[in-house]
């Protein structure tokens, strides 16, 4: 089939080229994300640590800026055994357990958080009075620095003085040793706290998605006889499916790498019960400023997340483009 030649000037074509629209974002991505990514992969093969990087600047003191701008990062030698760092990570006796913890951690957080956010979004989207006030209250977990709120949670879980146990006692349930007892207790404790942190965001995202559904579709469905849950299944859910899909994906990714909740409340304990991948990374690498090892943990985490992430994206058609 012969296409008719377009009589538009080249300049016009360039000006409205889609590539131009995504260019700034892509450049940002390339420079600030892909380059660090490549850099990180590189140093997984080295033994770079703080001593090597020290010449770049004083990172962890609030002293004045150093004059030296060139880095001796590359002075750090490539390991004799290229995969030394990887070996370190994989031969960690706790590796399997930690991985398991991470996966359980991710799933047990994401579904309740997304579910709770969804339910709240629905309730707040319906006829209720005082929506704004409720919403204001419910974004509080998101608005406060999690450092202090998680410490409060830790205090609440205290066996003797914690408010949770005293409340349980009031209704006749004996105190639970949340933080130093069984693995399960500790895990539940941090999951609850993390859900508390995470659902406001989901609520906001889903609220936004629900708000953009045209009113008429509801009316049309009602006329056709669908009300309540049926209508929700027929009209609403399909329309917010993209949002649910991305919420599940990003929620999982963020939870997997969420450091604060798992660390601040239990410190990874008891034992390694609540140690997840990222907290182990902190213990073994970050706290020793062993950047090469840290980068190794990060890269392994990336691969763990990338593979399912890729297939999830494909399967749900998340990245299917538009075009007119």
């Amino acid at each position: 089939m012969t296409e008719k030649p377009r009589s538009r000037s080249i300049l016009r074509r360039l000006r409205s080229s889609p590539y131009l629209f995504i260019l700034p974002a892509l450049i940002g991505l390339l420079v600030l994300v892909l380059y660090p990514f490549a850099f990180n992969i590189f140093i997984t093969f080295t033994n770079m640590n703080v001593y090597h990087i020290r010449a770049c600047a004083n990172l962890f003191a609030s002293a004045a800026q150093s004059d030296q701008l060139h880095c001796y990062a590359l002075d750090s030698g490539v390991q004799n055994n290229l995969f030394y760092n990887y070996g370190f990570v994989f031969t960690d006796p706790a590796f399997v357990q930690i991985l398991e913890n991470s996966i359980v951690w991710t799933f047990s957080n994401v579904f309740p958080t997304v579910g709770l956010g969804l339910v709240l979004a629905f309730v707040l989207n319906s006829k209720v009075r005082g929506k704004t006030i409720y919403r204001l209250f419910m974004i509080v977990p998101w608005a406060m620095p999690s450092f202090i709120t998680l410490l409060v949670w830790k205090g609440m879980y205290d066996y003797q003085f914690g408010i949770i146990n005293s409340l349980l006692n009031e209704i006749g349930i004996p105190s639970v040793n949340w933080l130093n007892g069984s693995c399960f207790n500790a895990f539940v404790a941090i999951v609850i706290a993390n859900i508390w942190l995470g659902y406001p965001f989901m609520m906001i995202i889903f609220s936004g998605a629900l708000q953009s559904i045209p009113q008429e579709l509801y009316e049309a469905a009602s006329i056709d006889g669908a009300v309540g849950f049926t209508r929700m299944r027929a009209v609403t859910i399909p329309l917010i499916k993209p949002t649910i899909v991305i919420a599940l994906l990003l929620g999982s990714i963020w939870t997997f790498n969420n450091f604060n909740s798992a660390y601040l409340i239990t410190g990874g304990g008891p034992g390694i019960c609540t140690t997840i991948f990222i907290t182990q990374a902190y213990n073994q690498a970050f706290s020793y400023f062993n950047f090469a090892l840290a980068a190794t943990y990060a890269f392994i985490a990336f691969v763990i997340l990338f593979v399912p992430g890729f297939f999830w994206t494909r399967y749900t058609g998340l990245t299917r483009g538009g075009g007119s």
Partner: protein, 294 residues
């Protein structure tokens, strides 16, 4: 319709409404409860985690009440080289710029992904998901090295640019979905009516996707306002300190200033609520209602 069934209906309505409110009230209480403790600490004299009285057995009330932490922070007294006007000025400038920049990057990209077809579309969309897949902390060091070489370290740009890019992952998807939900026919009708592509974008697509734009802005705002790690690495001079830097400065290795920390955390939360209230207005239902049949 007998009287019986209409009473049954209104009873059912009341029950549903009651249930909803009960649920919301519980959620609201659970949401703010831990923060009540933070508030209590902020108003307790001294810097340790004091044990407050418990009103009704659950609500923490400070044993002795003071506003010293707030006055200390706001009155520039030297606790940790405090300089509140500077911190809030820096945070404000950085955050506003980050939000503006994020919107500038996200909106055209979302438009391109929604309304255009081009090679590499799916791949580039997917690549925006990649940054989320590795722990943020790990990207900071290479970014620092890069900005070092470019001589951008210790400036506003050092943080604004990463903040702008950092929020992209989610934002682009939000905007793409939002644009997707506007029927193509509106574009076509506007085209026939004489609007060029830019006009269609500014006069049709943007007004109709305000809820999503507000969400993107809020997301970028939070990412910048509360960030510590990147700011800590990139900004060194005291004159460039942002609020989170000041906040975490209260967590010295030897001693934790819980009182001041809590007070500053609460102060920092106020703009968040203000911004949220302002944006609430834009999260209004019904902008797209009535435009398209079925």
């Amino acid at each position: 319709m007998t009287a019986h069934s209409s009473t049954a209906k209104s009873i059912r309505k009341l029950a549903t409404s009651g249930l909803k409110h009960a649920f919301l009230i519980v959620m609201a209480l659970v949401s703010i409860y831990p923060v009540l403790w933070v508030i209590s600490i902020a108003f307790t004299p001294g810097e340790s985690l004091g044990i407050p009285n418990l009103f009704l057995g659950i609500f923490p009330v400070p044993t002795s009440f003071t506003v010293e932490h707030f006055t200390t922070i706001l009155k520039l007294q030297v606790v940790v080289g405090s300089n509140f006007p500077v911190w809030i000025r820096n945070s404000a400038i950085i955050t506003v710029s980050s939000v503006a920049g994020a919107l500038l990057l996200t909106l055209p990209a979302g438009y391109a992904f929604s309304r255009r077809k081009f090679r590499g579309q799916e791949a580039s969309m997917f690549s925006f998901l990649l940054p989320t897949m590795f722990p943020g902390v790990v990207t900071i060091i290479p970014q620092f090295l890069l900005f070092s070489t470019l001589g951008l370290v210790n400036s506003y740009f050092a943080v604004i640019i990463p903040y702008m890019v950092g929020s992209l992952s989610l934002s682009i998807f939000i905007m793409k979905s939002a644009f997707d939900s506007i029927p193509r026919e509106i574009d076509e009708a506007a085209m026939i009516d004489g609007a060029g592509e830019l006009r269609i974008f500014t006069r049709m697509l943007l007004p109709l996707t305000l809820p999503s734009i507000a969400t993107v802005a809020l997301w970028a705002f939070m990412g910048s306002w509360l960030d510590w790690a990147l700011a800590h690495v990139m900004l060194e001079s005291n004159s460039l300190w942002t609020l989170p830097l000041a906040l975490y400065a209260f967590l010295q290795p030897n001693y934790t200033y819980y009182g001041s920390f809590s007070a500053l955390a609460l102060i920092m939360a106020i703009p968040v609520f203000v911004v949220f209230i302002v944006f609430q207005r834009y999260l209004v239902t019904g902008l797209t209602a009535g435009s398209v049949k079925g």
